[in-house]
Structures are given as structure tokens and as C-alpha cells.
Amino acid sequence: ACGTATGSSLDAGKPVKGGTLRAGVTGGNAADTIDAHIPVNSGDIARTVNLYNCLLSRTDDYKIQPELAESFEPNGDATVWTATIREGAKFSDGRDITPDDVVFSFERINDPDDPKAAAASFTMLDKVVATGKRTVEFRLSEPNGLLNDSVSEYTTGIVPSDYDPKNPVCSGPFKLKSHDPGQSTVMERNDYYWRKDGGFLDEAAILNFNDSDALINALLSSQVDAIAQIPLALVEVIGADERMNILNSKTGMWLPFTMRVDRPPFDDVRVRQAFRLVVDRDQMIEQVLSGFGTVGNDMFGPLSENFPDFPQRKQDIPKAKKLLAEAGYPDGLEVELVTAPIQSGVVEAAQVFAQQAAEAGIRVKIRKVDATTFFGDEYLSWDFAQDFWYTRDFLPQCVSCSMDESPFNETHWDDADFTKIVQKARGIPDSADRKNLEHEAQKVLYDEGGYIIWGYANQVDAYQKYVGGLVPNATGRPLSGWRLDRVWIGKV
């Protein structure tokens, strides 16, 4: 029963209308939100995706697709983007979605006094202007060919101009019925939603669990219908249960080690190269992900159109030792690796890395802190730590984490040439046109960057066989990217 979900629709039969889906998710606390623009944890994301619609979104294989916007086009130098709102798009209270609502939404995101989660991607956004009955112009202070990527993020949901986050009017396939932070959220179908090919469920409930143990038990005792993200080590066991299906999605999600390139010992490129060479990537996938992942090549954005095919880096202890010796560490060195349970597999990866690095004389002292401490004052300034990222394309990812003014520049990568290349590539809307520039940037990171990207983790979920409509999704978000409008409860 494991593997991809090709057989699922067979099990669940033809789509049927009606019923409630109960989806379990780990995490969640008293601060859980239903605000469209400040989702934090997995449950928040699930709510945002289902309650709000964005102008654009990503398909299951991570291509940009139109949503509330029929089209989203740049002008020639990518300084102005024009969105055309879909004909007949309505909010859950039956009102039309107007350009003013779009303007309000983006002003809310970019509110200088209270910037929302997505604000970092819109620093160059000068003004959003309603220019017609259905058109909105995004005027930029500098060229940006990637604005469509930013607008496809789930953090840019469109809300009405009289938006009340406590009692939201929704633009997504569902509207809110009840919300009990840290416990459960119930959503019901939004009949005004513009997409007519889905919307099978009457209701969808998101249930919070304290950890995966309870989550699995709830699934096995049929207290929930589907659960998001199961421990990879248990995939086979759960899959062996006749009642269960496994949803195994290849994604571009990565759990890198982050080396600060401006601090010793990692300010020496040879040390970074040596560290990258000590990793046995296959074993990482095997031990940390129980085989549910793809080997990485120290490069992010694997689903980008312009992803390069550089030679696969392999473990090479002698070479690593040689590099270390050249860098002044003939007897190896000791480093502290800061880790935290920020995503399943992170702490485990640290342990496997420590073991592998020992072979090259690198003594890794693991310092495990709790997630709060990890994201605390010292976040982004650890010398050697870890992090995790969902699927992104290469250039937006660079903007997030590899440039001087990137909000999450955890490796402190600050290379003028590199920045120039990225800036230039960013201004080009067409991906084929910027292929060479991208490759140039990628080559630099591949040779000298501060990330050790040993692999991409699959997103593995489990659900009862009577649930239909769940397909693999590359975004890294669980349960088909949380697109519950496509899900139905079939005959048991």
C-alpha cells in the first residue's frame, strides 16, 4: 500500500459530495491563528490555505497557476505587474472580490507598523493600484521578474477591505465554522468559491495533537481520517495496515546544515568544502529519512526549471582530510553544532552528521536547544546550525537567504558579484532567458556556499482508504498541499 497514491481514487471510488474530513496535525498551541497573513505552524498553514485564496498558487508539481487572478503579467522591464481578477470571484458572504480588496490585502501585508509574514518578499513593492473594474497594478521600485512567485505564496491570501481577523470573511474554498486554538478548527464549504470542480466536503476539521505518537494512534483507532506528516521510520508499519494509504510526496523540502562563512573555522572555504565532503548523503537519506528522500547536491530549489546538473558530490574522507590539513587543521577540529527539534529529522540529521564527520577527524559537539531558544536572539547568528525550508525556486530562495539584505541569511553569505548576478536574473521574467545567469550563481554556491544540503525530504502522510482525492504534492506542505477542496469521503 505504500508508495504513491495512484490507487487512492480506486479505493475511495468516484468523488462524492458530503461528509466531514477530520485531519490531524502535530503542533499547535494557544497562539494558533486564523489570520490570513501570519500563519506560523502547520495547522495555521492548513487553515490559511483552505480559508483564503491568493492571486496565484502552485500546482502539485510546483508550477505557478492562476487562482483569483486570471492573469498576472509584467511589463517589459518587470517594474509593473498587472493582475486581472477572475470574473465572478466572490467572498464567502457573497460579495464580489474587487481590486480594492486586493489593494487592501497587500497594504495589510506591507503595513510598516505591523508587517506580516510575507512582507519580506515585497520590499520593492512601491504601490498597489486599482486601475480598472478587474485590474490591479503592482508598481515596483526596481525590476522584479519573480513577483509572480511571491504572489503565489500562501501568505498572500486576499481578504475583504473590511477584514476582521477574529471573524473572517473568506475567499478560499472553505469558511470558518469554529476555532479553538491548540485544539481544533472546523471549516465548512464556501459555496461562493469560484472553482467548481471540487468542493466535495461539507466540512473539514483540523485537529491538533501534541506529538506524532498520539497522531498515529488516533489514525489507527479511526478517530481521524488523515494525518499530516508521519515519522518516516514508521511508514512501512503504517502502510502495512490494510485500512491505510500512504501519501508519499517528493518535495523540494530541505534540512540544511548552515555554516557561517564570516566566522572561523568556516570563513575558510576549504573547511566548508571539507565539511561537505564528509557527508555520506545516501546514508543520511537512509538513517534520517528511512529512505524517503532524494539525495541533495548542496543546492536548493531542486524543482526550479533551471536546476543545474552539477556532478553529484559524494563522501570523500581523504580529500576532506587533505582540505582540512591545508586549512590548518591537520589533526581535525572541534565544532559545536546547534540543533533543535524544529522539524522531524533535524536532530537526527545532526547525530548522523556527527558520526560521519568523526571519520575525518571532525569532532562535532551537538548542542540541542529547544525550538524557542533556537529561534531566539541567536537565531541566524549560530556558527554552525541547522534549519529547514519548504520547496522554493532557486531565485526566490536566494533572495530569502543568500543575499546581504536577505531576511534569513543564516550562512551570512555576502558576495557582491553573486548579489549582482542574482539581482540581474531577478529582473528577467522569462526563465529560459535567465538560465545562464542562474547557473553562474548556482556554480558559486555549489563550490563555495555555506549550506550543506544533503537531501530533500519526502512529505509522507497517511490516511484512511475511504478518503479520496489526495495526490502527491511537491510544495512540502502535507496532505496535497492542504488543498482539502479536492478531497472527498468515499464509500467505506
Binding site: Q287, A350, V352, A354, I366
Partner: protein
Amino acid sequence: MSTNTNSLDDLKSAAVDGGEVPKESQTTYTPFFKRVLAQKQGKIGLVLTIIVLLLAFCGPLLLPWATGNTATEFVAKPFSPHGLFGSDNLGRDVLSRFFAGGLTLIVYSVLATALGMILGAIIGMLAAYVGGTFDAIVMRLNDVILAVPQLVFALLAITVLGPQGWVLVTVIGVTHAPRIARVARSATLGVITEDYILAAEMYAMPRWKVLLRELLPNITGPLSVEAGLRLTYSIGYIASLSFLGLGLQPPAADWGLMINENRIALSIQPWGVLLPVIAIALLTIGTNLLADSFARATASTSVEA
């Protein structure tokens, strides 16, 4: 109220600690260990404790010879039935990790107990010896600390200071102290009225000498019982904290941590949990039996066969 409530308090501390309040005086002196070993419980306790201690101390040395693996080596996929007891959540050999995992637990709990005993004995003896306001203040402070559960204390301290070894040892030792202080105090109060203390006073023996030479040897009975019990509790607390994920941190091979890491697969790969659980159980049972036979040994001169 002073008299009756205090007597209730003392009863209380006596009660938790096995119920048998040994009083050391008017007894014939026979070597303490002989009396402990004369009891079945003492023997079983000693054997259990020694088995686990041997395992914990020699385990790391035995490793390569017994399992052929080091405790951190990856030998299989996670949770597969590799080797004698299978592999753990990262595919490491459960038996190797089990061999390597007892030492820190034992060392830390012994240190924590020692710290608590020293602090508690000093506080308790001083409170009883000095008496008066000092005693009252110290004992009320004790009450305050007692009102905050040890685990809550540990939880806060570890979050503030991080899960390092010394934090564990200190926080457990310090939270043990008031409990030990109570026992030390009531034992001292029992002894302090004895005339030999008064005799020492009469000869103007320096006060620290009175404490050290006249008092301390005569409360070793209750104190050693207490030490045994506290050791049991220390082991329990350190293991519990590891189990909650607040104790020793990966990749340390530690029994409590092993339980925490492998608990999720209790049904498919039970050994990763059960081996350390059994070892911890044997150890705590062993130390508890020993403590109990300490109590009997100090409570009576003659010992039932």
C-alpha cells in the same frame, strides 16, 4: 503549635522514608554492612545494584567485544530487527547503546545525591543544633521549597540554564536538600538531647567538633537510609527528565534518552525501550532494597536471619 506540628512534620518525613525511624543509640555496635547483608533484602539489593553497576561501568569497555559496534555507529535502517535486540530510531544497534548508556545516569545520580546529602545534612544539623529563630526560619524556607514540586523546579531550571549535566545534578541535589534537611534535623533533634552531647558541651568542645564528632556519627543511620532513598529518587528523576526530553541530549547514549527516542516504536521495536526500562527498574529496585535494609540495620542491633 510549635511542639505538636513539629512532631507531625517529623513524623511526615519519617513516614515517607520507609516508616522505620531508626534511632542510633543504646545499640551494640556491629559492622553496619554485616547487618545489611544479614538480610535477604540487603543481599538481593546488593546483587541487583552490583549487576547494573557492572553493566554500566564495564558496558562501554565490553562494547566492541560484545556487539562489535560502537554506540553511535549506524548498522541498519531505523527500527529494523538487526542483531540481538534490533536497531533504534537511527538504525544504531540497541544493545551497544544499552551497554554504553548507563554510566552517565549513575554518575549523575550519585553526584546529585551527594550534593543533596551534604547540603541537607548541613542545613538540618545546623537548624537543630542552633535552634530558635534560625531553626524556624530555615524550616519555613524548607517548607516553601517543598511546596514547589521537584519536577516543576527541574523543568524551569533546565529551560533557563539548558539541559547540561551540571544543571541536572545541581537542580536535583538542591531540591533534595530540604527533604534531607528534614530528616537530618529530626535525627539530630533525637540525638541532641542525649547526655553525651551535653557532656561535650560541658567540656567546652568547639561547636563544629560537637557537630562533626558527636552528632554526625550518631545520625549516620537515618542519613544512610535517606541517602539510599535519595539515590533511588535521583535515578528516577534523571531518567524521567531524559524521558521528557530534558535530560541528557543526543547523541549521548543514555537510558532515559533511549526510552524517549524509541518510545514511538514501542509496538514494533520494543527492545529500544524495554532494555533501558528494565535496567532502570533493576537499579532503582536494587538501591531501594538496599536503602530499606539500611533502615532495618540501623533500627535494630540484632537482625532476623
